[in-house]
Symmetry: C2
Subunit: 408 residues, 2 copies
């Protein structure tokens, strides 16, 4: 397997940073790019990573000091088209992995400003990237992070990007219809349509990874040194559901399930994200091909996840309760859900299934940082999908309120 | 039929202005809104309306002087969220007709700047409108101009917005898959997804009019006075195909058909646009309903249209030739095409079919303004879909070149 030159966009994020290390570890030349906006959004929202994270400078320096090689760090904003174009022109990458988007559904639903910013940021950043590739690296393989949330919850099987439709005696294979559930998820649908078009019109090679909900915080690379840790979010804006439940259980709070908890989604271990992106890079799409992989390994309902966490705690003598709270989101909590996820397996994905040992190890990590838990961020608040305001706040979106209470 | 308060966004445009007059004539209160950017884009592109157009102030004053009533003119840019919000809050309209977007596919394909501007302008303007309606006029009916170009040319019948899919023993009715063919058409797909979401999440009532290619320049209202005329574009950026052919034939130039001319699309008379929007307003969508109508009356191939124009000229002794030029666009010129267009007929649309008398009347209008034809804008140039540059220009997009030659 030849080594490739890979740009990781969004390399300061939860997945971007471990992905940069993982690809470096596999022998690829990695250029890590970010605008660090995620750290600024933490300041705005009063949120922070449970696990302390180092600066990008410190991370790549530690990686080098440990003899793992060079990760080239570049601060670039994708909405700065000229800077992005210069980057692509100077590196001429074999692959670009694109994590660099506003990726929180609740954040996108706070109000008009957040909705518009999310869509303009994500759409413009991706368009700028597509033009830069077209001009300076037309054979580069684009690996774009999408989301399973693009599909919503249709009453038929979810296929991987395309569906063959028989209709009135004729047949065609067309993009799978989309029913996204937030302005963030909509931005990913917009991206998918834009990328599909440039594959057809310009011959760009692209893989759209419709990723499920990621859980976990440890990869072989993050475990090498505390300065190589990646962020771990547990609040109502940035935290994914299993990570949130684990923090709630670790501090002895009830697990807050929205509605009945019947919302079923695809999930995957953070280590499988690493593997899926690597497999995509090492088995690239062909010129002009727009390839869609559903990137998750198991389906769970939200209530099932809560029960898994409760049971894992119980095995160690902990008692955890499950609270059902009104669902702030616009989504069905009882629905059919059967999403295909075969194409990455065909490329060689050997999935980590969710076991209580994983939950135990995350709980252990949380307990190491228990003094950093901000109680005001745990569980009770979220952004209301209809009003754009938090149930916990009055007049102003909750996310702008400063964090006040911490667990000693 | 009760009279309604209707805001027409994009009321300075080819369709927006006659639509404002048409609705006023039907007894509705009309607020005409535009930012006049289309006139600035003419300056940028070196293009201009063949038919002289008055200022918005002069138009509404002439409408009043003729005793037709008040059309309230407001200059507002939809990307100015506060101004738009104030407008909606102060008027509290029963319906908003939304024409206010960058609507040229070639313009969106010139280069990165034009592509990104088109998408950000259209997506942000529509999002701002949706938030303003949600906050200040939640029962207002949104009538949004989309395009048949959202569908592309699938190998199955095109339905009106949604399709029932039978798949692996289950069934669902889902948004019709989209294969748009330019950054402009993509922006309309993005809008459709955004609007559909707010109908589901917020209960907005919306009608998405997927319009075909409009031809003609005269309505009963534009015919009342020269100062009430609407614009007529014939260039490679803004001109629709039948209007372009008619100008070419009127000045004795060959009709330029891209490729074989097998590209088949839906077409409609400008007077039917007026009627379709009126019917949509007077039979509104229900709260939470996202209704899609395919707004055209007949299908033609581009070559068929060219032959119709040639034959109409021949009937009056004119000789017209048809030239086939390489297709600058990314599109198939031989394909299946069968698009449904029944829902507006069910509401009462009585279509004007394309007859040689219509072509004759447009030729007559063109001949009245023949001294205004800019030869450099007729037929030979277009924006290349792959390179973003005109075949007629070197190094720089043709549209930025000043117009030089005019027909005496």
């Amino acid at each position: 397997m030849r080594n490739r030159t890979v740009i990781v966009l969004g390399a300061d994020g939860y997945l971007g940073w471990p992905q940069a290390m993982h690809l470096s570890n596999q022998g690829h030349r990695v250029i890590a790019v970010d605008n660090l906006v995620r750290r600024r959004w933490d300041l705005e929202c009063g949120t922070s990573s449970l696990i302390p994270i180092s600066t990008m400078e410190r991370r790549v320096e530690r990686w080098r000091e440990l003899g793992r090689g060079d990760i080239e760090w570049r601060m670039v904003d994708l909405t700065d088209a000229d800077a992005l174009s210069d980057l692509i022109a100077s590196i001429k990458p074999d692959a670009v992995v694109h994590f660099a988007e506003q990726r929180s559904a609740p954040f996108s639903m706070i109000d008009r400003e957040h909705a518009v910013m999310t869509q303009l940021n994500n759409v413009a950043g991706t368009l700028n990237l597509l033009f830069a590739l077209h001009e300076h690296a037309p054979e580069c393989h684009l690996v774009k992070l999408g989301t399973m949330g693009e599909y919503g919850t249709p009453n038929i099987d979810i296929e991987e990007g395309f569906i063959t439709i028989e209709h009135n005696g004729r047949s065609d294979t067309l993009p799978y219809p989309k029913l996204p559930g937030s302005f963030y998820h909509l931005s990913k649908v917009h991206d998918s349509h834009n990328i599909h078009f440039v594959c057809r019109a310009w011959g760009i090679a692209a893989t759209d990874l419709n990723q499920g909900v990621v859980y976990g915080c440890n990869t072989p690379e993050t475990a090498l040194h505390p300065e190589l840790a990646t962020r771990f979010d547990y609040d109502g804006i940035w935290g994914t559901v299993l990570n949130r439940f684990i923090v709630q259980s670790a501090i002895g709070k009830p697990l807050t399930v929205y509605g009945s908890g019947g919302q079923t989604r695809g999930f995957l271990d953070i280590r499988d994200t690493m593997a899926c992106v690597q497999l995509s890079i090492e088995h690239p799409a062909k010129p002009g091909e727009f390839r869609v992989f559903n990137q998750f390994t198991e389906q769970f309902s939200v209530l099932q996840l809560a029960e898994l966490v409760r049971d894992a705690r119980a095995a160690h003598g902990g008692a955890t309760t499950i609270d059902h709270t009104p669902n702030p989101r616009f989504e069905k909590d009882t629905h059919f859900y059967n999403a295909k996820h075969q194409l990455l397996v065909d490329l060689g994905l050997d999935a980590h299934k969710l076991r209580s040992t994983l939950i135990d190890s995350v709980i252990e990590t949380v307990e190491q940082h228990i003094d950093r838990v901000d109680l005001s961020q745990v569980g009770v608040s979220d952004v209301e999908w209809v009003t754009g305001r938090s149930r916990a706040a009055t007049g102003k979106a909750q996310v702008t309120a400063p964090a006040a209470e911490t667990v000693a």
